[in-house]
């Protein structure tokens, strides 16, 4: 009998995490059944497959899938596996095709999944039915405002029910666009981190680490003219206040007053004087469309949103859609994209992409140090049997609001994860 995964003691104001959860292959095996096969998992965005016939291939929860738009415009998700003998049927990362033909024996599928052609079909008995041999699909596949998710549990609640209050924060991101439509931009950042996937969930919303892990990024911001003075006496670790918000179902977000600039309408000197007139115009459009309060919400606050278990939308220095999955207990693969309003001008688009690179990604001024921190955690956890508990009580039992630099939101994740992991099958 193993120890509990978490010790969650409200009376003692103590929250401890069993480090076995971050190192054990058997925990990962259980996660695959109890977390990844039960929850809605992000597949891709409709903007990646704009035209009929467009497709992308990727792995989702380790499963090779085809995410495509068929000739009539309908969006599908197929397992990228031939029904005949199991080979991958589409080997290209992206493209436009009428269908997919397996190179092994030539079984050919239309881009709506139907099996269209079987070489030498006359050798099969009359019990052989091509209609039953279309590409397999995950049991559930649904979307919310262009974000497509799959679910391996046919009895799961609808995606919209699952997302719940997280939808409000997705809407807030999408309000950057005059038509409420944003698109994934060209250029994916695909990289591995030698750390457990759950460490990325924590890291994506943990503002406590920013002053230490990202001191060189803060120095870069300061050198460029951004004020990074931290007010004393409010328990803050950053120049502005930010909160940690529970959105139910294991989803949560930070909600921060912005100091770091936003391509949607909060100018900082890095953007250059030339950018001011256009950014004023973007803000004017926001105010006209949304009213002053909502416009301020869009432009002057930023948030890192976690859709349980493994989708992060960082609406900060720019917008990134980031998902990650475990390769093994001590290694994850990350895919990250930039995300922008479809109406954006060339100059605003260039500014958004440039702002992205100030912080995010494998060549950014911050992400490489996050990777380093996560890998150092994983290396340190080699001692887990002798030093088995992580201390995650920060902010517990506070009278005042839970801040982005507390660990309230991290506990929300772990409580939901624990609930799923401790559930009977």
């Amino acid at each position: 009998m193993r120890d509990a995964f978490i010790i969650d003691d409200a009376r003692e104001k103590k929250f401890l995490l069993n480090r076995e959860a971050l190192v054990s292959p058997s925990v990962l095996q259980a996660e695959m059944k109890k977390v990844f096969a039960k929850c809605w998992i992000y597949v891709g965005h409709a903007s990646e497959i704009k035209a009929p016939g467009d497709f992308v291939t990727r792995r989702v929860t380790g499963r090779p899938i085809i995410f495509c738009r068929d000739h009539s415009g309908e969006i599908h998700c197929f397992f990228n596996t031939c029904r005949h003998r199991g080979a991958i049927v589409c080997t290209e990362p992206a493209g436009n095709r009428r269908g997919f033909r397996c190179i092994y024996h030539g079984w050919a599928y239309v881009n709506d999944g139907k099996l269209a052609g079987v070489p030498g079909a006359d050798a099969y008995a009359d019990t052989f039915d091509k209609n039953e041999l279309g590409l397999r699909r995950p049991p559930r596949f649904e979307s919310y405002r262009g974000f497509w998710f799959l679910c391996l549990d046919k009895d799961a609640p609808s995606l919209e029910t699952y997302l719940g209050k997280a939808k409000d924060y997705m809407d807030l991101v999408l309000d950057q666009s005059p038509s409420g439509t944003m698109e994934i931009l060209t250029g994916v950042q695909d990289y591995d981190i030698a750390a457990n996937w759950k460490l990325m969930v924590e890291n994506s919303v943990d503002d406590y680490h920013i002053p230490t892990t990202h001191s060189t990024w803060l120095a870069y911001m300061a050198n460029s003219g951004v004020g990074i003075h931290v007010p004393q006496g409010e328990g803050l670790v950053l120049p502005t206040k930010g909160w940690a918000i529970d959105l139910g179902n294991g989803h949560f977000t930070t909600d921060n007053i912005n100091f770091r600039g936003r391509p949607v309408a909060k100018w900082i000197p890095i953007y250059g004087e030339d950018a001011k007139p256009e950014m004023d115009e973007i803000r004017r459009e926001l105010v006209e469309r949304l009213g002053p309060d909502r416009a301020n919400r869009v432009a002057d606050t930023n948030r890192n949103l976690v859709i349980f278990p493994n989708l992060v939308i960082n609406d900060g220095s720019s917008v990134t859609v980031r998902t990650f999955y475990p390769e093994n207990a001590a290694k994850m693969h990350v895919s990250a994209w930039a995300f922008g309003p479809v109406e954006e001008s060339e100059t605003a688009r260039a500014r958004r992409l440039d702002a992205f690179l100030t912080f995010y990604g494998p060549g950014g001024f911050a992400t490489p140090d996050d990777v380093e921190a996560l890998e150092l955690v994983q290396q340190g956890l080699a001692n887990w049997e002798d030093d088995p508990w992580s201390e995650m009580s920060r902010g517990m039992g506070k009278e005042s609001a839970q801040l982005n630099s507390d660990e309230h939101h991290l506990r929300i994740f772990w409580r939901r994860w624990n609930q799923l992991m401790e559930a009977a099958q």
């Binding site: 060209t186 981190i193 060189t216 460029s224 100030t358 060549g363 490489p368």
Partner: protein
Amino acid sequence: MNAPSNAIRVSRAEVEDFLYHEAALLDEWRLDEWLELLTDDAIYEVPPNDTPGGSSKNTLFILADDIVRIRERVKRLKSPNCHAEFPHSRTRRLITNVRILQTEGNLVTVAANFVCYRYRRHERIREFVGTYRFVLQHTHDGFRIKARRTTLDAYELGSLGAVSFIL
């Protein structure tokens, strides 16, 4: 090779000497000296693995620095708080297949292949393989780098992890 009559004449050997010198400065972490090799309008880019021919104006790059950000990047790299590079990686660049693609006025466009081996603490080797494309400006004091684009051959960054040093 396209060489209009107004263009300066440079030999491949001169270009190679310069690239080897640059590689030595980077491998030895002599980053202030490396900065002196750049023009005041220099750019440094690493395109994403899936769109190696893209433009940073409409495509998400791994990095796309103007001279201001290059200088900030060097400040960061020299800080012990640049955790991804402290202690510094040991790198070793092998540069080959150097070609002068074009000369125009005092500008020379150069392509080269590279392998950059990176060693870090107790990690196994990471091998960065790809091509360099430089625009070099010829001055009375030798070459200066006006543009520097590092393109990786790998389909994805994957186990290479990050481009946390000057590649």
